[in-house]
């Protein structure tokens, strides 16, 4: 008994969590010779708020911190919706200096709420106009990804069924019960795919298309994890549906994170016109930051080549800077849509709730 108590105490003592302020502590430089050679000033601290999917290489971040004498702290904010809520609710006393992770489906709401200060980064020169959705540069594009239908290559080969190439194909009887999608009310790829159908068929007709999809054995689940790992036949979950709404980059992830070496991706994306929806993610400087100079440096850094080239393997999205070189696996295992669907952020903001409501009535009730 005593031993266990003692053990528990020792464990507790050993495990005491690091205090959050520790990293702000700077060891004063005592040796004057070193100070003279390279004057060390107190590093500025910068807080960056992001969603859960954000990731960055240690080495890339360390290089930025050293070059600019800035200490970066990251705050996670849950998924995209939670993170944005967090930023909006705290806008009078911002929790962070920079916010990364608002996408084009939420962009108008973020801009309306006035959480960002404009910043015309010089690095924007390398970014194509199609990504620069905010003319006032309050939100600056960082990366993009296409939400596409992934299919199980082996299933279609084995059963000798032609691979569908358009949205319209999916309502044909040979694809009965073969497609799993996410609920647009609870999932970001689910919403993106709904928006693709709105863009393709128009706001008057898209619902008719969904009714036909439903009649053709459509499977709807609430989240990407279930759709991909429980329903999709080519994932490790070996589910019953050979088609699932996921990302254009998912086939590369299947190879890179395969549990046994693969020469070829087991999955691929359907790349017909408007079958994919392009999600663009933005960064912005939070209004009222007391750290404007450091925040500008960080935004520039996110648009610079080292970060842009780090993005694909960290987050499985694509850099907005076209000069960024993608990892080999991306060229090898991913095909990109030539004609992804898009809708203007204002259009999405104005109609999102109505579309989701109409969709819910048509598909779930």
């Amino acid at each position: 008994m005593k031993r266990i108590l003692l053990l528990a105490l020792v464990l507790l003592a050993a495990c005491a969590p690091q205090t959050p302020t520790l990293e702000a502590v700077v060891v004063p430089d005592a040796t004057p010779t070193v100070a003279a050679a390279a004057p060390v000033s107190t590093p500025a601290t910068l807080t960056v708020m992001t969603h859960d999917s954000f990731a960055i290489s240690e080495s890339v971040l360390a290089a930025f911190e050293q070059a600019n004498n800035i200490d970066v702290t990251f705050l996670a904010g849950g998924d995209t919706g939670s993170a944005l809520n967090k930023a909006i609710l705290s806008k009078d006393a911002p929790l962070a200096d920079v916010f990364y992770g608002v996408d084009n489906t939420f962009l108008s709401r973020a801009l309306e709420a006035g959480i960002f200060e404009p910043y015309e980064s010089p690095m924007l020169a390398n970014v194509s106009a199609e990504f620069r959705l905010d003319p006032q540069n309050r939100a600056l594009p960082v990366d993009y990804g296409d939400v596409c239908i992934n299919y199980d290559k082996a299933f279609f080969a084995k059963n000798d069924i032609p691979i569908p190439t358009t949205l319209g194909d999916l309502i044909r009887p040979e694809y009965y019960g073969l497609l799993a999608v996410e609920n647009p009310a609870t999932s970001s790829p689910g919403l993106a795919f709904l928006l693709a159908t709105v863009a393709h068929f128009g706001p008057e007709n898209y619902i008719g298309y969904w009714k036909e999809l439903r009649a053709n054995g459509l499977v709807v689940v609430n989240d990407w994890e279930t759709a991909y790992y429980t329903n999709f036949s080519a994932s490790s979950g070996h589910g019953p549906q050979p088609m699932v709404v996921s990302y254009a980059t998912s086939p590369a992830a299947e190879v890179i994170y395969a549990d046994h070496p693969l020469d070829e991706a087991p999955t691929a994306s359907i790349l017909g016109p408007d079958t994919c929806f392009r999600q663009i993610e933005f960064v912005g400087i939070l209004a009222g930051t007391g750290n404007r100079a450091a925040a500008e440096k960080f935004v520039d850094f996110m648009l610079s080549l080292p970060f842009q080239e780090d993005v694909p393997l960290q987050m499985f999205v694509l850099p907005v800077d076209e000069q960024a070189i993608l990892p080999d696996s991306f060229y090898q295992f991913i095909e990109f849509p030539s004609q992804p669907a898009t809708l203007s952020p204002d259009d999405i903001a104005a109609n999102r709730e109505r579309w989701i409501e109409e969709w819910t009535q048509a598909v779930l009730r």
């Binding site: 960055i56 929790l95 082996a154 070996h238 046994h260």
Partner: protein, 575 residues
């Protein structure tokens, strides 16, 4: 397995065997001031970390414009289903939980403590993991469907059955621990007396045992019901898009539509319902307390044929219901599926330790990579802090609530409110109320304590309420000092309840995901957060690592629960 029936017998023996005359150590006659000071820490804590943020966010978002008939109809529709599934789930939980409580309280069998600990594991598993476990067993590709109905799999995910089974899976442990604990310490002389007077065993149950168990059963029932009422992950992941509870609807309105007024309206409905149930509960329960005795355990090996059949069939049921879905995770974490891709059905298994070794490699060089040991350490530190904090806050409250005066009767239902508060709403309230503090890692155990506190109070209160005053008086008359009275009378009974309370707090904290994902910093994730990271990207290695991490979480919890139960605070009897 090890046997634990050689419990120390308590040192106080009382001769007479009638009921009545039981009191808490803090009778209502004590001054209001004293009782107030016992309640104060917990009230302050809940006031600052629960009611204040909740009121801030509700005040900020509530807006008369949401009170349209369309919105109200929708809310009513969701409320109806929420109540319906919670009621059904609670009934089913008792259907399994009550016999299980009897089993653990009255019988001894091999592997008892392990099985007891296993039934508590689901309570802390994140829903993603439970969903994966059920899928591996009952999903379209689950082995049940593959072996029994390969051509036309029986649907499980996306049905009401899935919701109900998952709720029973999660909450049976509440019934086992609260009702079973009371049953273990029920004064056996009451039943013996009834028998001597000629009642058969059915009648003893009906007229003596069950009425005596009313308090603990209501306490357990309320906890289970409130948990199911505020259910979120189970509905979302196992129920699917066809089903929506208030909590799910709040999540959609607040985080997807950014419609805070509607979310606030729904939160208010949910809170009001919770309050109503808690008030009803406290009305009926104050009169019921169980006469218990610090006697050695009355558990014994089954003797008659009927008892043997009861024990054997329940053991079979419990082990298949709890062990199979839990076992599917460790199995999957060691098995590489070499599926003949495209072939629905046939697949081969290969054993591998790769998923575990891979956990220790930061393959992406990511700054947020966390080795499994560090994630486990983060989780354990938070869990230990939650256990400590919720016991320190909960014990004085439970002591005063055990013999409630008017003040306590009013406060009692308020203390249960955290169970019915929407996690999303509270999370948003934290942002408005605490702002810069949000970066502090200490908010995680604080948030976990808010959830754990109602469990701790409910686990302690019935035990404290049932310590017979006569035992104390008898001991004092025989010359025992004040401390010795407490040590020999109160402590043996209390220590078991404290262990049960600690187990609840520990598991609540270990498995909690929502607050952890909002409040932990990305470089300091807990085990559930780390699991969800792996599951959010495609690739067999990610999936395997998620299963491996889940297995580690299960092991950590199992060891934790077994350790807590082994602690057997000195002087404690069989727990």
């Amino acid at each position: 397995m090890i046997h634990r029936e050689e419990a120390k017998s308590a040192k106080v023996v009382v001769k007479e065997a009638e009921g009545g005359g039981f009191a808490s150590p803090f009778p209502a006659s004590r001054s209001l001031f004293l009782r107030g000071s016992f309640l104060l820490p917990a009230l302050l804590f809940l006031g600052i970390f629960f009611f204040y943020p909740l009121l801030r966010i509700l005040a900020l978002s509530l807006d008369a414009s949401v009170l349209t008939s369309e919105n109200l109809n929708r809310a009513l529709y969701v409320l109806r289903f929420t109540l319906y599934q919670a009621l059904l789930s609670t009934l089913l939980t008792f259907l399994l939980g009550f016999p299980a409580a009897v089993l653990f309280a009255r019988f001894d069998f091999r592997g008892k403590s392990l099985l007891r600990a296993l039934t508590a594991i689901p309570f802390m598993l994140p829903t993603v993991v439970v969903a994966a476990g059920f899928n591996a067993l009952l999903g379209p590709r689950g082995w049940l469907n593959l072996t029994l109905f390969p051509s036309s799999p029986v649907p499980f995910v996306g049905t009401l059955t899935a919701i109900l089974i998952a709720h029973v899976f999660y909450n049976t442990t509440i019934v086992i621990r609260i009702v079973g604990n009371a049953l273990t310490h029920l004064d056996p002389r009451l039943e013996q007396a009834a028998r001597v007077l000629g009642a058969d065993s059915r009648r003893v149950w009906r007229e003596v045992t069950l009425p005596l168990l009313r308090g603990p059963m209501l306490a357990a029932g309320l906890l289970v019901f409130l948990f199911d009422f505020a259910s979120f992950g189970v509905i979302l992941l196992l129920g699917g898009p066809q089903f929506s509870t208030l909590e799910v609807e709040i999540y959609i309105q607040a985080l997807q539509f950014l419609d805070l007024p509607m979310a606030a309206l729904l939160s208010l409905i949910q809170l009001s319902c919770t309050l109503i149930f808690s008030v009803l509960y406290s009305r009926v329960v104050t009169r019921a307390s169980v006469p218990i005795t610090p006697k050695p355990s009355i558990a014994r090996r089954p003797e008659s044929l009927r008892e043997k059949v009861f024990v054997a069939s329940l053991l079979f049921l419990l082990s298949s219901f709890f062990i199979l879905p839990l076992l599917s995770l460790p199995l999957r974490s060691l098995a590489r599926l070499e599926a003949d891709r495209g072939e629905r059905g046939a697949m081969q298994y290969g054993l591998t330790g790769d998923y575990y070794t891979e956990l220790f490699i930061n393959r992406r060089g990511s700054i947020f990579y966390v080795p499994p040991i560090e994630a486990a350490r983060n989780s354990l530190v938070y869990a230990a802090a939650t256990v400590g904090l919720s016991l320190v806050l909960g014990f004085p409250v439970a002591s005063t609530l055990a013999r409630p005066g008017r003040l306590e009767r009013i406060l009692d239902p308020l203390l249960m409110l955290p169970l019915g508060a929407s996690a999303v709403t509270l999370g948003l309230g934290f942002i408005v109320a605490f702002n810069r503090l949000l970066a502090s890692p200490w908010l995680v155990p604080l948030a976990h304590t808010i959830i754990a506190l109602p469990f701790v109070i409910r686990a302690l209160q019935p035990a404290i309420a049932s310590i017979p005053d006569r035992l104390r008086h008898a001991a004092a008359t025989l010359g025992a000092s004040h401390f010795r009275v407490w040590r020999t009378v109160d402590w043996p009974i209390l220590s078991r309840a404290i262990l049960a309370a600690a187990t609840f707090a520990f598991t609540v904290s270990l498995g909690e995901f929502g607050a952890a994902t909002l409040l932990t910093r990305p470089d300091n994730p807990t085990l559930p957060v780390a699991i969800s990271r792996f599951l959010s990207q495609p690739g067999g290695l990610n999936y395997g690592q998620a299963m491996a991490m889940s297995t580690i979480l299960m092991l950590v919890t199992l060891i934790g629960i077994l350790l807590i139960e082994k602690l057997r605070l000195p002087g404690a009897g069989e727990f």
